[in-house]
Assembly symmetry: C2
Homo-oligomer: 511 residues x 2
């Protein structure tokens, strides 16, 4: 049974790794070979952490989505005054949580086995992380008071410190470490390296906490720096190597190859787990909203509707439509993401970044639902509400498309042969990924032109899309045939189609 | 890379299974060997479904937790009037969702590979399932109106129908099926068998929907029957085999061994995934509550507290304490669950049932949080609030303990050698699982005796427990040594300790 569990990152197995648990007081016992279950420990702990982190990142949207706007108030102004600032802060906090997640991924690439103490330390870390949305709520409600941003920064610092304790514990009990680090002579180098990755964010947050009492904008800049810092340093190193040449790499090659493992892409499994968490919780936030807002008050039903619940519920008609529309959007965007990652063999850092940006907009969908359900057909703001929804959907899907185009740049490393340029599923994948950006952009401009029918257009779009996905394969076939017949000797298409046939067998050998 | 993915349930691999996707229009293409990625499709889809289902089951607690009770009102009466009925309905709906989940697990044990159509059908199924909490909200708010229970039943029927369509689609495209069913001559038997499992719930719900307009109590009885039906039929078959003998089994043995695969325990992975989802979402519901209720109103801060946010927040002191206490409880119960399942090699049906009962009480923890945060030190009801919390914690942990004792009954099949009776980790595991039931029961009776100090006792308990877990290993060692010295020749203990030594090597060979 335990052999069927997900494969461990360190495939060595029979090394000197002790059992993951029960070492605390049993140092007298001779070291035993690795338990089959000990690696799994880490697996489930990480899955649980991924779930919590993705939920927490997404929950940050709630103070934004629940911003009270009077239906009579013009949304155009309110968006500028209230929402934009809140959305900016939401994006910032979402991205900061993803930075914490990335550090967590790196940390448990170094520490592969865990014991009870590590599990409890990790839970303590998670407890502080789940507190972040509250500090964000304070930040959003009291933008001028330093206390919110101070509390947020302090939490980030505490998280960093707990993770540092985990590193220290791990290096004090070397049998918990990654196999390669265990046998390495440069353990101290790895320790410094992972501590640097973990602590650079908290140090910036510490500065932000100090400056929050003097000059709040600087604190925000520092928190923003937390997000771009990893990418900035990477970009600088990349530029350096481009300008100075390969010298840097030679220097590093003295150290073992594991150095490059640490700067390698995030593991595809954890990227998927984190993404799934975001999609699942967004779908649930919608139902929470509908449970909260759309259950009529028993007294009101008696007085207003003469006890007829059905009549009272029919008042909420547009809300149900908005709910199902939003749920369909989330479900299908998950479906596209799932189809894409089915053919992704390795997620590079840039792809990871684009994925997180896409998820940040996915997290914005409850806001889109709130807007369309509150304003549709009730107030003057329906066009704005629908346009905001279209923009959110557009960005969520265009970043998915960007993951795909980025993957195509290094298709040999990152993609399954079927999905590569000229592969069997290439055209179909393209169509799948292009559908939502095209439709949401189209809906946006249509509502500009035909502002009277904006609600009808929006709902039509939400109803048609699932069927479009079902019939997509037929569309792609037909359009490929048409293209083939219209320009029968266009070089590019012939290559594409030839490769399509040729790929049927090499696809198996390459995979 | 793809080789490192979780192992597929059907390990055959090179069978006649076609590619999971792209069959719709490509029947002219000869069947290809199985894609490495196609099985993974199903894996991620199932993980996502598990996440959604567990979240939905847990969200059912919200209408209960958000029941408005005036602080001046005596909780004792309100509990009897309002909460008890709601809690009963919550337990029912939670268990019904878990029945749907179990059917979903069975369904995708039969259909192992998926394509785009199946993925979209499954998403449609999930969409209906996420709507269930809303129907439950209606049921809870309007217990006398048939519409809520009618809508709930209709949703359940639609879910059953979509799953039946999935079965039909799967058997129409046999390459998607489990290897064993594919090569079997009795495909129709399997089809009937899985349809029976999937549709028995919805048929009862259909009857419930009809009767909801005539006689609501009967509808509730029918819905209750949905929960006990699978266990009832199993119990009857078990009784029959006990009384009549092995005749039944002989009859069945004409069919292939796969028949028993279908009535085998749920896969341990999906039980873990579902449990993790419940624990993660319960932790998040707490922070949602605190975000909603404990962010002071900016205007109030200005008027009441002269603009001092810190002063306004200090009002919420007890709430923070309640939040951290509840989070620690959830985290540690997850930790116990995780420790237990680390040594479980196979989850029997009874263990699955006990796990679900434990999860149902875990889902009740947000209610405990609401009670302790709202009433502690504010009203006359603090003792009742704390006692309800203790009871919920007690049942959540005692069912975990029951999983363990049930596993011990068939320890050869279900447990890792270390955790078996006399194993190395046996005593420690016992202590871990017994800690929460003992402490919560102790706190319950202490509050009865020393009712004046009830809040102090409760908070002390919540603070002490994490340290108790950290020091548990030492306690167990010491107490074992004491027991050894007090009754040096007690037969049982000697056997235990001898086996502990002996188990060090057989443990490896058996695992």
């Amino acid at each position: 049974m335990s052999a069927a569990r997900p494969a461990a990152p360190g495939p060595g197995g029979g090394g000197p790794a002790g059992p993951a648990r029960g070492r605390g007081l049993e140092l007298d016992v001779a070291p035993e070979p690795e338990l089959g279950s000990s690696t799994q420990t880490s697996h489930r702990l990480l899955a649980y952490s991924d779930a919590l982190l993705s939920i927490i990142a997404t929950v940050m949207i709630l103070p934004v989505a629940h911003t009270k706007i009077h239906p009579d108030q013009k949304l155009g102004e309110s968006v500028q005054q209230l929402l934009l600032a809140k959305i900016a802060v939401y994006l910032m906090t979402f991205l900061i949580v993803t930075v914490a997640w990335a550090a967590h991924v790196r940390l448990f690439q170094v520490i592969e086995l865990i014991d009870d103490v590590l599990a409890l330390l990790n839970l303590a870390c998670m407890m502080i992380i789940t507190f972040l949305p509250y500090t964000f709520s304070l930040m959003a409600s009291f933008p001028d008071v330093p206390f919110g941003i101070f509390l947020f920064s302090v939490c980030a610092v505490v998280i960093g410190l707990i993770q540092a304790v985990i590193v220290a514990y791990g290096f004090y009990h070397p049998h918990l470490l990654n196999q390669q680090i265990q046998v390495s002579e440069n353990q101290n180098f790895y320790k410094r390296h992972i501590l640097k990755i973990i602590l650079r964010g908290p140090i910036l947050c510490f500065l932000a906490a100090i400056f929050s009492f003097f000059f709040i904008p600087l604190s925000y800049v520092l928190l923003g720096l937390v997000i771009v810092f990893p990418h900035l340093t990477r970009f600088i190193t990349w530029c350096k190597t481009k300008i100075v040449g390969q010298r840097d790499e030679e220097e590093h090659s003295n150290l073992e190859t594991f150095t490059f493992y640490l700067s390698e892409p995030l593991s595809k499994e954890r990227v998927e787990a984190f993404s799934d968490g975001v999609y699942a919780i967004v779908a649930t936030l919608l139902i929470l909203d509908i449970c909260e807002d759309n259950v009529p008050d028993p007294r009101e039903v008696k007085e207003k509707f003469h006890g007829s619940l059905l009549e009272a519920l029919s008042e909420y008609g547009p809300n149900y439509l908005a709910y199902f529309g939003s749920f369909v959007t989330i479900g299908l965007l998950w479906f596209v993401h799932h189809s894409l990652f089915l053919y992704v063999t390795k997620a590079t850092r840039l792809m990871g970044l684009l994925n997180i940006l896409s998820l940040a907009f996915i997290g914005g969908l409850p806001l889109a639902y709130q807007l369309t359900s509150e304003f549709a057909e009730k107030s003057h703001n329906e066009i704005e509400a629908i346009q905001v929804s279209c923009v959110i959907t557009f960005f969520a899907s265009i970043f998915q498309f960007a993951i795909w185009t980025t993957a195509l740049l290094h298709e040999r490393e990152t993609l399954h042969p079927f999905a590569r340029y000229g592969g069997k599923e290439h055209a179909f994948m393209f169509a799948k990924l292009a559908l939502y950006p095209c439709v949401s952009l189209g809906a946006f401009f249509l509502t500009c032109l035909l502002s009277e029918f904006s609600t009808a257009i929006f709902h039509l779009m939400q109803i048609v899309i699932p069927f479009a996905f079902l019939a997509l394969r037929i569309f792609v076939r037909i359009s490929l045939t048409i293209i083939k017949s219209v320009m029968p000797l266009s070089r590019r298409k012939v290559v594409l189609l030839e490769e399509e046939e040729a790929c049927l067998s090499p696809g198996e050998t390459l995979s």
